[in-house]
C-alpha cells in the first residue's frame, strides 16, 4: 500500500511534497509500533496467555458452577490433600488439580486467586502510575524544595529493603485484599516518578515550553499538555514491566501471611498452608507457584515487546 502511494506521487512531473510525505507516513507511529510488537512472537504469546488468565479470572464464578462444579470455599474434610483428578465417587465431579488441606478444590481456588492477584496487580500499577506521574512531574517541573522532598522520599524507598517496610505497613493497617494495592503502590511509585522527573528536567528548558509560558499557559496545562505526552511511551513500558514485580511482591506478602487473608484465596496464601503439607501433597506447592511463574513470565514478555515496539532505540 505504501509503495503504491509513493510510486504514484513520484510519477507526477512536479511531485507534491506534502502528498508524498503523507503517503510515506501513512502507517502512523502506533501502526508501526503495533507491527513491531506483532513480529515479536514471545510478546504475542505472552499477551495471549495473559488474556486467557484474565478471562479465567473474570469468568471465575460461572466457570466454578459450570465447569469445575466446586466453590472456592467449599470444604470437604474427608477429601483433603487428594491428588490430581481425584473424585469421591466416579459420578461426582473430579478435582482436576486435587484438593488442599481442607478438601477445597485447588483449580477453583486458583481461578478465584487469579481474580485477586491480577486485580491487585492492575490496581497497584494504576495507582503507581498516578502517584509516580504526579510526584515526578512536580519534582521535575517545580524543582527547589518540592524536588528536594520528593527526591529524598524516592532515595529512602530505594535504599530500604521494601519487604520489611511492607510487612510493617500491612501489619499496622491490616488492609482488606483490595487495600493491598494501596500498600504496594505506596512503596513502588519511585520507578515511574524518577522516569517522569528526568523527562521533565530535560524538556522544561526547551524553547517551546518557554513559548507556551509566554502565551500565558497555566502550569497544569504546560505539565499535562506540553511535557507529559513526551513521557507516555517510557511510562507505559515501565508500568507494564512493573506488573511482574508487583505480582511477585503481593504473592510473597500473602505467602508470609501479611497480604491477602484467608479464606480469600490468593496464589500466594495458597502456598502458605501447602508448606505444612509438603510431605503429604507436594503438588499443592507446585500448582499455585506455576501460575505465578507463568503470569510473571508472560507479563515480562509483553513488557519487553512493548518496549521494543514503542521505543526501538532502547532495544537490547
Amino acid at each position: 500500500m505504501t509503495t503504491q502511494g509513493t510510486t504514484a506521487t513520484i510519477s507526477q512531473p512536479l511531485p507534491d511534497i506534502f502528498a508524498a510525505q503523507a503517503a510515506l507516513k501513512s502507517p502512523g507511529l502506533l501502526a508501526l509500533a503495533w507491527r513491531r510488537f506483532w513480529r515479536d512472537k514471545l510478546a504475542v504469546v505472552g499477551t495471549a496467555v495473559l488474556l486467557l488468565l484474565g478471562l479465567m479470572a473474570l469468568l471465575a464464578t460461572p466457570l466454578a458452577s459450570e465447569v469445575t462444579h466446586f466453590q472456592p470455599e467449599q470444604i470437604e474434610l474427608l477429601g483433603n490433600l487428594k491428588p490430581l483428578g481425584w473424585a469421591r465417587t466416579p459420578e461426582r465431579p473430579a478435582h482436576w488439580l486435587g484438593t488442599d488441606e481442607l478438601g477445597r478444590d485447588v483449580l477453583t481456588r486458583i481461578m478465584f486467586g487469579a481474580q485477586v492477584s491480577l486485580f491487585i496487580a492492575v490496581l497497584t500499577v494504576a495507582l503507581t502510575l498516578t502517584i509516580g506521574t504526579l510526584s515526578g512531574a512536580m519534582a521535575g517541573y517545580f524543582g527547589g524544595v518540592v524536588d528536594m522532598i520528593i527526591s529524598a522520599l524516592i532515595n529512602v524507598l530505594l535504599s530500604v529493603p521494601l519487604l520489611f517496610l511492607l510487612i510493617l505497613i500491612s501489619a499496622v493497617f491490616r488492609p482488606p485484599w483490595w487495600g493491598l494495592a494501596i500498600v504496594l503502590a505506596s512503596v513502588s511509585w519511585t520507578g515511574v516518578a524518577r522516569l517522569v522527573r528526568g523527562e521533565f528536567l530535560t524538556i522544561k528548558v526547551r524553547d517551546y515550553i518557554e513559548a507556551a509560558r509566554v502565551i500565558g499557559s497555566s502550569n497544569p496545562r504546560i505539565i499535562f499538555r506540553h511535557i507529559l505526552p513526551n513521557a507516555t511511551s517510557p511510562m507505559i513500558v515501565a508500568a507494564t514491566l512493573q506488573i511482574g514485580g508487583v505480582i511477585l511482591t503481593e504473592t510473597a506478602l500473602s505467602f508470609l501471611g501479611f497480604g491477602v487473608q484467608p479464606p480469600t484465596p490468593s496464589w500466594g496464601n495458597m502456598l502458605t498452608n501447602a508448606q505444612q503439607y509438603l510431605f503429604l501433597a507436594p503438588v499443592n506447592i507446585f500448582v499455585p507457584g506455576l501460575f505465578i511463574f507463568v503470569t510473571v513470565l508472560s507479563v515480562n514478555f509483553m513488557g519487553n515487546g512493548l518496549r521494543d515496539a514503542l521505543d526501538p532505540r532502547l532495544k537490547q
Partner: protein, 320 residues
C-alpha cells in the same frame, strides 16, 4: 576523594533519619496505636489499666517528644525492650541475629557474583552461542520465579525427595557443638535460593556492559599488541565493564535483604528476616522498629560501600 567520602556520608544521614521518622510514624499513627490490641486480648481490661500501661511505655507523652526519646536512645544503641520477651533488649536480639543474616546474604552475594560474572562474560564473548542462548533463557525464566516458590521446590526436591540437604535451620540441634561443615551444609539451599534471582539478572547486565566494552578501541589495541585473548577479556575488558555493575550491586542490596526475609522464613534460618517476620506476627512493636531500622541501615551502608568502591574503580569520576 576524602571530600567525596565525607559528602557521601553526610548524604546518607538524612536518609537514615527519614527512615526512622517513617517507621516511627507508621507505628504511632496505626489505628489504636501500640496498645490497640490490649482490649482484644482481654475484653475486661479497665480504661485506667490501659492508661497505666500506656504511661509505663511512655505513651502519655506527645508524639514529637516520644520520637526524640526514641532517636536519642537509638543513637546510644538503645532500641528499647521487647514487648513479648519481657525485659530482653531489642539491641541484644538484633546483635544475636545479625551475623546469621550477614552469613546468609554474604554467601548468596558471593555465590551470585562467582556465577553471574563469568556467565555474563562468556555470554558476551560468545554472543548468540548455545551457552548465550541458554543463559538468556535461564535469566528470563529466573527473574519470573517467585523466590518463596523456588525455596519450597528446593526443599521438596533436595531435602524431602533426595535427602541431600536439611529442610531448614542453621545447624543440627542434636550436635553438642556447632561445626563449620554442618553450618555450610545447612546454608547451601537457602543461599542458592537467595542468590538465584541475582544470578539471573546480573549476568544479563554484565553481558550487556561487556558487549559495549569489547567494541572499544583500547580493547582492539590490546588485541593488536598480541595479548592473549584471555588477558584481553579478563584484564582489560572486564575491569571496565564491572564499573557500572558496582552501582547496580549497590542498588540491588535492598532487594537482597528483602529476599533474605522470605528465604529465612522458609528455611527457618534464625536471622534478621525471620526476626522481622515473627516480631510483626506478634506485633512486638519495639522489635519491629529496631529490625526495620537496622535492616535499612545495613542497606544504606552497603550502598555507601558500593559508591566508594565506584570511586576507587573509576579514576575518571570527579568528586565535585
Amino acid at each position: 576523594m576524602t571530600k567525596y567520602l565525607i559528602r557521601r556520608l553526610i548524604q546518607s544521614v538524612p536518609i537514615f533519619f527519614l527512615i526512622t521518622i517513617i517507621v516511627f510514624s507508621l507505628i504511632n499513627f496505626a489505628p489504636g496505636g501500640p496498645t490497640g490490641d490490649l482490649a482484644l486480648f482481654d475484653p475486661n481490661i479497665k480504661p485506667e489499666d490501659i492508661a497505666r500501661i500506656r504511661a509505663s511505655m511512655g505513651l502519655d507523652k506527645s508524639v514529637p517528644e516520644r520520637y526524640l526519646i526514641f532517636v536519642g536512645g537509638l543513637l546510644h544503641g538503645d532500641l528499647g525492650t521487647s514487648l513479648i520477651q519481657r525485659g530482653v533488649k531489642v539491641s541484644d536480639m538484633i546483635a544475636e541475629r545479625l551475623p546469621k543474616t550477614l552469613l546468609l546474604t554474604g554467601t548468596a552475594l558471593l555465590m551470585a557474583l562467582l556465577i553471574a560474572v563469568p556467565l555474563g562474560v562468556l555470554s558476551a564473548v560468545k554472543q548468540y552461542s548455545l551457552l548465550d542462548n541458554l543463559a538468556t533463557f535461564f535469566s528470563t525464566a529466573g527473574v519470573a520465579i517467585p523466590s518463596f516458590w523456588l525455596g519450597l521446590m528446593m526443599i521438596l526436591l533436595f531435602a524431602v525427595n533426595l535427602g541431600w540437604f536439611p529442610v531448614g535451620g542453621i545447624y543440627e540441634v542434636r550436635n553438642q557443638t556447632i561445626e563449620a561443615g554442618d553450618v555450610l551444609w545447612h546454608l547451601t539451599l537457602p543461599a542458592i535460593t537467595l542468590a538465584f534471582i541475582s544470578i539471573a539478572s546480573w549476568n544479563r547486565y554484565i553481558r550487556a556492559s561487556m558487549l559495549e566494552v569489547i567494541r572499544q578501541d583500547y580493547v582492539r589495541t590490546a588485541r593488536a599488541k598480541g595479548l592473549a585473548e584471555r588477558l584481553v577479556i579478563f584484564r582489560h575488558a572486564l575491569r571496565n565493564s564491572l564499573i557500572p555493575f558496582v552501582t547496580l550491586l549497590g542498588l540491588s542490596l535492598p532487594g537482597l535483604v528483602s529476599g533474605a526475609l522470605v528465604t529465612e522464613t522458609i528455611f527457618s534460618w534464625a536471622g534478621m528476616g525471620r526476626l522481622a517476620f515473627t516480631a510483626t506476627t506478634q506485633r512486638d512493636y519495639p522489635l519491629i522498629m529496631g529490625v526495620v531500622i537496622m535492616a535499612s541501615a545495613l542497606t544504606i551502608l552497603g550502598n555507601l560501600a558500593a559508591d566508594i568502591a565506584y570511586g576507587f574503580l573509576d579514576p575518571r569520576i570527579r568528586y565535585d
